[in-house]
Symmetry: C2
Subunit: 189 residues, 2 copies
DNA sequence: TGTACATCAGTGAACGCGCGTTCACTGATGTAC
DNA sequence: TGTACATCAGTGAACGCGCGTTCACTGATGTAC
């Protein structure tokens, strides 16, 4: 049942999208190839027609996750009223909706500790994605020098990623909400 | 080869200590029972003489990790010159030494995303440990009301945990150092 | 443009391996008299 | 206090299971003439 080149490319994309969601939802080690192929509507045997190894789909799904987060962030910044860009980003990122939907959430929060233990290729994908995000956020601090804006972006993102991560592992809904709320209040200019 | 009650208790403690280090170093899913029993100097078959399941040793090793972090934090706060407690805690937590030794590092940074996907019992252990840490840090903000101090502690810990986590997954040593340095500068009163 | 053949996406079974868990066994420790 | 027996910590082999990976097979797609 050979498929056309177009269909093959679409299937491959679907696998990476499914992997990107599954890894964020359940973790990298916890997601089997059968799980992610199933989520893409396929059986696991066909995996190696698209990828050389699990490692390769991990790298590509991290790249996809960071890129789609970048696109979403840029859309939020572009849609915000002038001067309210950071507020809009904070409101979206530090929301309970974001907290409760790991499959489409920030990969730096959902996969951070998996990332720290991953191969160099995977860490490189995370690092590039993070650097892009830092640059985009730094650009919003328009009254600071580029160097100062980057430093501000590093602190802002540390607080945001830390707060979202904590709000996700904490078992107490009130504490989760408080962490997100206080981070948002603290970071709002 | 039955062991005395004292030896049995010491062995059990050794297993939990080994587990607590191994989980932080390599992740919970990535650490097998044979790994952690081996790290405790035993063969894997004896595991079930001490624990009912892997889940149970995960809970106890999280409790141990959060408690030993609390003790270390209290020792740092007590040893600091009066008025410099927060600075001492920041210098220790946001150091490259802490970054580079996950096995004895803050479990909220090394296991945060594993924690978010864990069972309720494991998340409860993390949550209790985090609440204790929040209270201890809040006590350092002596010129704030208890409620305001707790809010300040939540933001401070979000930034610290976020910065350490980022510094660990990022592949670029300069960026790692910059994240820790900027978080420290930002949080130093 | 039509035909013949090569290619290959996807299936489902199979591979070896390591996982969490169980078990028979050993022999020192604990306990009952 | 000494003796006889029960207990059980630790070992190492074994269990079923799911993992990542491989493979024979199918049949539609792509290609060469």
């Amino acid at each position: 049942m050979r498929k056309s080149k177009l269909e093959t490319a679409e299937t491959r994309k679907r696998i990476v999208e499914a992997a990107s969601a599954q890894f964020r939802e359940n973790g990298i080690a916890e997601t089997g190839l059968a799980d992610l192929m199933g989520a893409a509507g396929l059986t696991h045997g066909g995996f190696y027609k698209h990828f050389e190894s699990k490692e390769q789909v991990v790298v590509e799904s991290v790249e996809l996750a960071t890129q789609s987060m970048m696109r979403a962030t840029e859309a939020i910044l572009a849609a915000a009223p002038p001067g309210k860009e950071i507020q809009a980003f904070l409101a979206d990122y530090l929301s309970t909706d974001h907290q409760n939907h790991p499959a489409r959430a920030c990969p730096f929060a959902t996969l951070s500790c998996d990332a720290a233990r991953s191969s160099d290729a995977v860490r490189t994908a995370f690092t590039r994605g993070f650097q892009n995000l830092v640059e985009t956020i730094a650009r919003q601090f328009k009254d600071l020098s580029p160097a100062a804006a980057k430093k501000e972006a590093l602190v802002t993102l540390s607080t945001m990623i830390g707060a979202l991560t904590i709000s996700r592992f904490v078992n107490d809904p009130d504490l989760s909400t408080a962490v997100l709320r206080e981070a948002k209040k603290h970071l709002t200019p």
